[in-house]
């Protein structure tokens, strides 16, 4: 097998980027064409990612590792990309002439994240992370006609740049302590020196950059603004694919410690509880659907951290599972957001009123997705939470689990408010039926099916996640 074959998913993304770049060169805008090209390429991308799941090996002087862990995440990223592209039928939030650029930056971002999950060298990680961030920085202000997008963009950039500067500073300390930039070597060295201030400071500061991606408290400040300010599809992408990549890299970094640092665990526990609580509490008072989802994503970052801070194979596996579950549920929510706010505007929760009449299938999907986010069985969200909590409990963190469950109860409140809006409230002015095309229905139904089926039969996904997690050690 040729070495470059290991790089196929990334190469394919690169190819896609080239295509979109070409489309962007063409003068006359044609959204339909752009959409179908993107859809076609993205679907092939999923196939390519799936096909390369079994690959294993390393590239670029050991700086780049291809294993089950990375490939699983690549599949998730490709899926996320594909699903976001699926949502772009009514890409009304972005000017038509910018559609190719939109796809282009989505592609580069996906490419960067794919590289991120495979990177096992600090510089590679840094470069990949920055590439993905920069693509998003540009995507956010692409929105048309709404004053808030540029503000959101600049805030995103400023917070992001600061965080990455902090991360870089931390990386320098890691380098200083371990004398190497290769993760494989760090794994061997770091657990021995993790007690020293420099090492712990380095790791902590490094994690800041990734926490920023995942929107963990206190690096979450960009999330609500960006979710609200960016176009709906962009938000969907940020909320799903980008979070998945962040989970991957945090798992990678935390696993460096080898479970030796009580201090790091304490920090992670604190941040996790703070994220959950803050996210859930503030979400209660939100009126805007995307802003609500932003706060919910902050709290979910807390839940994922529970799995990660267990620092055990089961913990990492549960975090991987949770990331996947979160991807699916969140995309399902955004599907509804995109379809209900067809003109690309922001969606107020109150605007969901009467959804059960306007489109029963969307209402049902929304309800299931939202209950999934709340962790109600038999959805995949429950299974994810269950696994995460099991992992934490194996380490004896019962207080953490109870706090997390109480948080889940609090979160139920605002999720139910969403369901209530969709199922119970009637709009002030009678709204027309929502035209839901057949492909959309199929997409919705399949998302719902994935949520329920993998919630009820988690075995397969769980085994994959476990196998992936074993690759780390």
């Amino acid at each position: 097998m040729k070495l470059w074959m290991l790089f196929i998913p990334e190469l394919y993304c690169l190819l896609m980027g080239v295509v979109f770049f070409g489309l962007a060169m063409v003068a006359r805008p044609n959204p339909r064409r752009d959409y179908f090209v993107a859809l076609l390429l993205a679907s092939i991308g999923v196939v390519v990612a799936l096909a390369s799941v079994k690959l294993e090996g390393s590239l670029f002087f050991e700086a780049y590792r291809v294993d089950l862990f990375s490939q699983v995440f690549k599949v998730m990223l490709a899926m996320g990309f594909f699903l976001v592209v699926c949502l772009c039928t009514e890409l009304n939030g972005i000017e038509e002439r910018h559609h190719p650029e939109f796809y282009l930056f989505l592609t580069t971002c996906t490419l960067a994240m794919m590289m991120l999950v495979s990177s096992v060298e600090l510089l590679t990680i840094y470069v990949a992370l920055e590439l993905s961030s920069y693509s998003l920085y540009i995507l956010v202000p692409l929105r048309r006609g709404y004053g808030i997008d540029v503000e959101a963009g600049i805030k995103y950039l400023m917070v992001g740049a600061t965080s990455s500067a902090v991360m870089l500073f931390g990386l320098s300390f890691l380098f200083g302590v371990t004398h190497t930039t290769y993760v494989v070597d760090i794994i061997h060295v770091l657990p021995n020196v993790i007690g020293t201030p420099a090492a712990i400071l380095g790791l902590l500061l490094t994690l800041c950059g990734f926490f920023f991606k995942l929107a963990v408290f206190p690096f979450h400040f960009w999330a609500p603004d960006v979710y609200q300010g960016a176009a709906n599809q962009v938000t969907a992408y940020i909320a799903s694919a980008s979070k998945v990549a962040a989970v991957a890299i945090i798992i990678r970094m935390v696993s460096l410690v080898g479970g030796n640092s009580q201090y790091l665990v304490d920090v992670l526990v604190t941040l996790s509880i703070a994220s959950m609580t803050l996210g859930n509490l503030v979400a209660i008072v939100q009126k805007d659907m995307k802003r609500l989802l932003a706060y919910s994503s902050i709290s979910h970052a807390g839940y994922v951290l529970i799995g990660i801070l267990s620092m055990s194979p089961t913990g990492y596996a549960s975090a991987i599972f949770y990331a996947l579950a979160y991807l699916v549920m969140n995309l399902c929510c955004f599907l509804v957001v995109v379809k209900v706010a067809q003109d690309g505007s922001d969606l107020k929760i109150a605007q969901l009123a009467g959804l059960h009449r306007r489109s029963p299938i969307l209402a049902m999907a929304l309800m299931l997705a939202v209950f999934g986010l709340a962790g109600i069985p038999p959805t995949i969200g429950f299974t994810g939470k269950f696994l995460v909590f099991t992992a934490a409990m194996e380490k004896g963190y019962i207080t953490l689990v109870i706090i997390a469950m109480i948080n889940a109860t609090i979160s139920l409140y605002y999720y139910i408010m969403v369901v209530k809006a969709a199922y119970l409230l009637e709009p002030d002015v009678a709204q027309p039926q929502l035209a839901v095309s057949v492909p959309t229905k199929v997409l919705t139904a399949s998302l719902v099916a994935v949520m329920v089926v993998f919630g009820v039969f988690p075995t397969y996904l769980l085994e994959v996640a476990r196998a992936a997690a074993r690759m780390l050690l």
Partner: protein, 637 residues
Amino acid sequence: MTSSFFHNPTLLAAAVAALLPFFTFALIMVFTRPYPRLSAVLSIGAVSVSLICAIFLLGSHWHLEEPIQYTGKWMISGDIHIPFGFLLDQLSLLMLTIVAVISFLVQVYSLGYMAGDPGFARYYAFQSLFAWAMMTMSIAPNMLQFYIFWELVGLASYLLIGFYYEKFSASEAGKKAFVMTRFGDIAFFLGLLVVLLHFGNLNIQDMNSVDVTARMSPALITLSAILIFGGVVGKSAQFPLLTWLPDAMEGPTPVSALLHSATMVAAGVYMFGRIFPFFSNSAVAMTTFLTIGTITMLLASTMAMVTRDIKQVWAYSTISQLGFMVMGLAAGSYFAGIFHLTTHAGFKALLFLCSGVFIHEYETNDFFEIGKYGGRGLKVPIICMTLAAAALSGLPPLSGFFSKEAIMGALAEQHNPVWLWAGLLGAFLTAYYSFRLIFSILFPKKVEAVHQAEHGGHGHGHEAGHHHAGIYWVMAWPLIILATITLVLGFFHTPLENFLVGHHGGGEAHGGHHAWLLYVAVGLALSGVGLAWLEFGRKGAPQVGFVEKVEPISALFANRWYIDRFYRLFLDYFIYGTVSSLFTRNDRRVIDGGIDGMCRATVGTGWALSFLQSGMLQYNLMVMFAVLALVALYFFF
């Protein structure tokens, strides 16, 4: 087991007698409610079969040596066995017969009294239920079964007292009866539990054996006896739970007859008799009972002296007679109490049924009014009622005379003469208030023609014209039968005594020991009658009793010694006003309010935290670094 069951006529008869009314009840409730006549036929048929069985049983076991007990399992749960079966001994056979007779007569009587009532079928269903509960209770071999049917008796009387449910007072009375007797039942139940836990068995025969004293300490026996007696207090309307019974006459009059004679209230005394040996193990308890009985008897007598309601007079008289029975039993004379229960069943049913005729005829409960309308014109009822009142007063040679003498004899055996004097006073008062009523009806003040005319015009409505005669005689026959019983029952004194206590009642007190007592008692009764004659009977009598002349006492009696008022206040101020409303407020404010407050606090915290997300980028960054610094500090300290 089934085959032996059917080959044994005793068991079969007992089963049929006890269970048949239940099937009628079920049949009527489920199927025949729309057909009143059919329902009545069913019910009366069932009760007459029960009657035949009861008489057969009584007859065939007149010379019973050993009690017959048959038990089957009803429910077994772990160590708790709840059997279902029959205990046939002298007492239960007697009671069974009394219940069957009275039920039968009342049901026949009701054919006339309840004719045309919209709830006719329902009425008969409840009557059957009542009969079933009472009969099964009578022959219960085990106190748990006894308790279960005891409760059902309470239920049936609740349903019947509140039969005219549209009337507020009727439903109120039903509720009152149920809740007040429930109060006693709780004590009863607790007492049974004490026995069950410490004695391990609730079989009536075992409880009555000497084992009890061996297995339970005297204190426990006293405690459990007093608790169990609580049931008697509730059901037999003893002090302090006596006020439900006068209200219970809100039900149809035949129901009162049934309730006051053979079923509901008799159940209490019957229970006393049922486990009489158990009770007599504790002298303290017996003295308590004697006190309660005496208080009850006197209180009720005073109340009866001032009321103008014919049914209430009999209701109070029931209470006072029940007091007598309890006194007799508590004084140690098993036979006296039970004998009085038997005779009382007869004449009290008679009294109520007679009153029912008057009420049905004149549609008023006030006996002065009845007298004015010409109550004495109804020959059969007035004669029967006078007869029954005489029996109630203890005038020879009627049945009441004999039983009362037996009780007096028992009281005279007591060391403390107070009981006897109280008893004699009671006898005097009884005679006085009974004949106060009788004379008021017999010799009314000047009859005003207007009333007559008014009455004749539309007094008792539509049915008067057509069915008058038939209905009248349907109602009259049971009266005549009961009057006969009242007349002759007294002469069965000795056979009954032999039957009940003949073989093991060695140390029974006897009226004969105190010949002087007999004369004193009769004399007092006669003087009571005389006083009533002076005040109500003779020509130009003032028709105002001596008590009624003293306003405060009269008010005290008329208000039932303010016992009801006290309960009302207790309920309003303590139960509703304090406990219930405090709990409710606690529930709304503290418990529920606490939860709501927690939720509101959560939302409020969310609102407060949302200010963390200020629009100002640099504040956000500062928070970010501040937290980072804190985390780092945590590491160094």
